[in-house]
Symmetry: C2
Subunit: 212 residues, 2 copies
Amino acid sequence: MLTPRKRPRQQRSRETVAAILEAAAQLFQRQGHAATTTNQIAERAGVSIGSLYQYFPNKDALLVELADHHLNAAAEQIALVFTRAAEQRPALDRLLADLVRCVAALHTDRPDLHRLLFEEAPRTPELVARFRQAERLIASALAGELRRLGVGGPAPEMNALFAVQGIEAQVHGALLDPPAGTSVADCLRAVLLLWERALAEPYEHRRASSAP
Amino acid sequence: MLTPRKRPRQQRSRETVAAILEAAAQLFQRQGHAATTTNQIAERAGVSIGSLYQYFPNKDALLVELADHHLNAAAEQIALVFTRAAEQRPALDRLLADLVRCVAALHTDRPDLHRLLFEEAPRTPELVARFRQAERLIASALAGELRRLGVGGPAPEMNALFAVQGIEAQVHGALLDPPAGTSVADCLRAVLLLWERALAEPYEHRRASSAP
DNA sequence: CAATAATGCGAGCTATCCTCAGTTTTGGGT
DNA sequence: ACCCAAAACTGAGGATAGCTCGCATTATTG
């Protein structure tokens, strides 16, 4: 059982839970996950260790909850890109540019939290599942736009998912460990160009001179 | 200090280290990282806990060492793809097909170990750095081939790196969590097609002859 | 065959996660 | 206003895992 062991019903307990999460976020960011003890978190939150364990079954559950918040916030930002796309019906290059910019912003907005969740924390199955779910949500929205534009090949859903996974990995790499002698902006531009080329029509099969 | 605290100099100690790593691999795979204790590892390896800590400064160092072995094995497999490419000088689609097939094989060969290292284990900075290093090595080899083929855009190095990062993420996703109603083979084919399109030159279709 | 270095040992220290029995606070019913 | 069951809170301490350290054992050197 990784989900809360008890639901806070009164106002007081909801504040307790919020304080615990806030404290956990701060300490995890400052000291790392392993170096932070649950007693420290409780102390900083101004509650007893027992209260912490009334709402979180173990230390990792705090991480999962923080990740969930972060992913929801991210999904919201990305959703904004797609609602704007639904209104303005931009061309592929414009849409992808917005998407890449948004993904990059998600990394740079809270770099420490992002690094904590993606590079340091032990990944519980729970955490992995939530990440995958967010990925699919975004991919689904992107697939809709690809269909509207008549691009993305014969299976836009699949290609949209791969695009989301690829862009995430590439932007992540570009921001945390940019290739020597290249600006981050250049990297993002290059990523954008790659995906424009990968997804744009014509999508005819070029079997020019060699077998599969 | 995450690297070995003492180097094994005699045959006896080298065997001890090997036994410890073997035991660690087995137990980590069977029970997961967190559920495995260092005392269990020592016991299974047939050595005392003190001996373990003579060669590994902490529990995570075992993981780093296992990851290092795994990455070296992977790099070797991939290097094979590129030495063969150097001989046969295949076209882009053929080269990418080999690469994707090889990456997929690395995932399916030892799925439990791979999952351990990529999805469960806490990622120490050391571990992350080694991943990045392997990535760059492969990207560098790929960039060479792209240059030979005259594709990969104006900055083949950068695009090769993005391709490696993207392919890894996409193959990983396709194998561990394939989209509903799609076979793994279909996914891999789709990934391949995306990267063919992303990297191939649309404007200049000159068949490369011998320019470095 | 000393003498010295390398290796191996394992009881136990330290520190962390988490429990639980008991206390305090809250809010709805009378 | 008052009562009281449910909700919330408390913190000392149990259980356990990572890791240390002084000493025994085995190998290597001169």
